[in-house]
């Protein structure tokens, strides 16, 4: 006897319930319960189980068990998987190539070329020798403790993913800023991407792509990191002084002239703040993505956790902190440079 037998009897559903009785395989728990005998009738109100699928199934076998639900989802997902892949695979293939090429480029080029190039980029975006010196010390430190290769892998992934985020995110943000309907539609999606723990959307991605494909972690990182650049582009353009926009209209600017000559330049501080956050979130995600075969420092952290190799994990963790500080400094400095040229607002 199960707890909710009485309920189905009272509702006159007994016949319906027993139709498909004993058709499903028994779970271990059911078997255990069977062997304990029919003590269920003596259950006190204190132990009343929640009328969950499993509890109701005991009383009425026509009601599915929870594991049928998960299984159904799985088969359903596998069913549409091939169709999805036909669409998503070619779309995301360039991402795989970009990641592979960038990884190859940054790890195979000798360090005495890569490091000066990185310093040059730093100089170009910050125009500050202090920051360049800081980056030189940080990278030198990492290379000195033999984490150069992993650090370059991590950086390569971040560069590619942040680049794709900006490439997609800025136009999406611009479109949102010009269309209230689109904004109302996109904001809940951004909210969802931002609130979902990254582990959760790794799951469908693993089903969709094979773990050996770089685009698997590429997509995971981009989904996670694209949110701030979209949001802040939208916000930045909406916050552009209405009076200045009116002046642009009054002097006969076309929409194009207004967008590229006024709105984007004036929204640039906000857009760059978004890029900064996007880069930082890419870094956070690239560590988690080592679970799905993303190479780099995250792999070492993971090894530290799995094998309890405390030293390996700590040094790799320190390397990530160093990269985080370096990336943050560089993007913040370039942001400050943009802000300084527009100090009036």
């Amino acid at each position: 006897m199960a707890t909710y037998d009485g309920l189905f009897d009272a509702l006159g559903l007994r016949a319906w319930c027993d139709q498909g009785a004993d058709s499903g395989p028994m779970s271990m728990a059911d078997l255990l319960a069977k062997t304990k005998g029919d003590k269920a009738a003596e259950i006190s109100a204190w132990d009343l189980p929640f009328p969950s699928l499993d509890a109701l199934h005991k009383a009425c076998s026509a009601i599915p068990q929870s594991r049928d639900l998960t299984q159904g989802l799985e088969t359903g997902f596998l069913g549409i998987r091939d169709a999805l892949r036909v669409v998503i695979d070619p779309l995301s293939q360039p991402l795989s190539w970009m990641l592979q090429d960038m990884l190859w480029l940054m790890t195979q080029t000798p360090w005495w070329i890569v490091m000066p190039v990185l310093f040059a980029i730093t100089w170009f975006v910050t125009r500050s020798w202090k920051i360049v010196g800081f980056i030189a010390v940080m990278l030198g430190l990492l290379a000195f403790v033999d984490h150069y290769h992993e650090a370059m892998q991590t950086l390569a992934i971040i560069f590619v993913c942040a680049f794709v985020c900006v490439l997609l995110g800025v136009p999406i943000g611009i479109a949102m800023s010009r269309n209230d309907k689109l904004q109302r539609f996109v904001i809940p999606i951004l909210d969802m991407l931002q609130t979902l723990p990254p582990f959760v959307y790794l799951i469908p991605l693993i089903f969709l792509f094979s773990v050996t494909e770089p685009k698997l972690y590429g997509i995971a990182i981009i989904l996670y990191a694209i949110v701030p650049v979209v949001r802040l582009t939208d916000l930045g353009i909406r916050l552009v002084d209405k009076d200045v926009i009116e002046a642009a209209d009054a002097f006969g600017m076309t929409n194009r002239q207004k967008l590229f000559g006024v709105q984007i330049p004036l929204a640039l501080p906000n857009i760059m703040a978004g890029v900064n956050q996007t880069i930082m979130m890419s870094l956070a995600m690239v560590v988690i993505a080592s679970l799905v075969s993303a190479p780099g420092l995250g792999v070492l952290v993971l090894r530290g956790i799995r094998n309890l190799e405390l030293g390996v994990g700590l040094v790799a963790g320190f390397g990530i902190v160093v990269l985080a500080i370096a990336l943050d400094r560089v993007t913040k400095a370039s942001l400050a440079r943009i802000d300084a040229s527009q100090a009036s607002r």
Binding site: V244, A247, A250, F251, G252
Partner: protein
Amino acid sequence: MTHTSNTAMAEPRDESLPWADEDAKRPVKVSIRHLYKIFGDDPKAALEKVREGMGKPELLEAENHVLGLSDINVDIRDGEITVIMGLSGSGKSTLIRHLNRLIEPTAGEILFNGDDILNWNEGQLRELRRKNMSMVFQKFALLPHRTVTENAAMALHTRGFARSEYEEEATRWLDRVGLGGYGEQYPHQLSGGMQQRVGIARALASNSEIMLMDEAFSALDPLIRTDMQDLLLELQAELHKTVVFITHDLDEALKLADHLVILKDGAVVQQGEPQHILLNPNDPYIEDFVADINRARVLRVRSVMTRGKPSGEDFAGDVDQNENLESVIARAEGAMDKRYRVTRDGKPVGTLDMKAIMKALVPRKVEG
């Protein structure tokens, strides 16, 4: 002729030109006909109510629509400064933005050189804004990321000229408004008054015949404001633009206006020659406006004199028709019984009694 700052008040400029005669009107440049603007979800339905006579407060109460403008008819004449005055919220900004169609009207016509711009397409409208009408804004609205020169050349740049082509023109106008040498600075490095000079240079550099100025000087300190008013009059004496100037300040209006339009709750309560409005206000609203004005300084001899060939011999002297009353009173040393002969360009055109001056100094009340 040029003006000195303390006597330059409300008078037709370019007296040397053929149409300087007070009675000869200049050609109409822009004509606003039966213009209505109603803000809200269903302006057409609300328009019917307004045409049936519903006022601004009732419309807001009953229909939840804002009456922006109601049956506006104004002629803006070539080469004149038309000043639109009214309290804040009276619809001044709304009205001026109709002239270049930054705001779409609910009903009415806006004739530019006789052509209704409401029928124009986007391309024509853009040409109008680029070539025929420029605008100066209360909060300057300069592009903060462009230099002063680039800002001044905004209209030319928008029209597709390269820097090498527009630089000379922009620099010339910056020099003209007194900003020579500031070309490479950014707007935020300049004071408010200087920023508005850039705004004026920007409007002038577009070489448009019409300049729309929405409370262009309202954000400036009083002294700088006077400077800017003088600058505008000086430029106007030289360039003869068609200027539409908005202000909530009667002193400014009287100083600048050739034609004064007074707005209240979206409707024109009175328009005409400023001196005439000052002497014959037709509404208590305008009386309130003119009550605190120094009338002796604002009113001109020509507004209070008796026209016609002077007769008799007992004149205390000659006064020019464009002198203000203050200077005549000073000359008469307060005596009430003197009579003056009024001249224009040295020729007698009328007589002025000191009694007429005294009468004009007391505001006239509207009956009822």
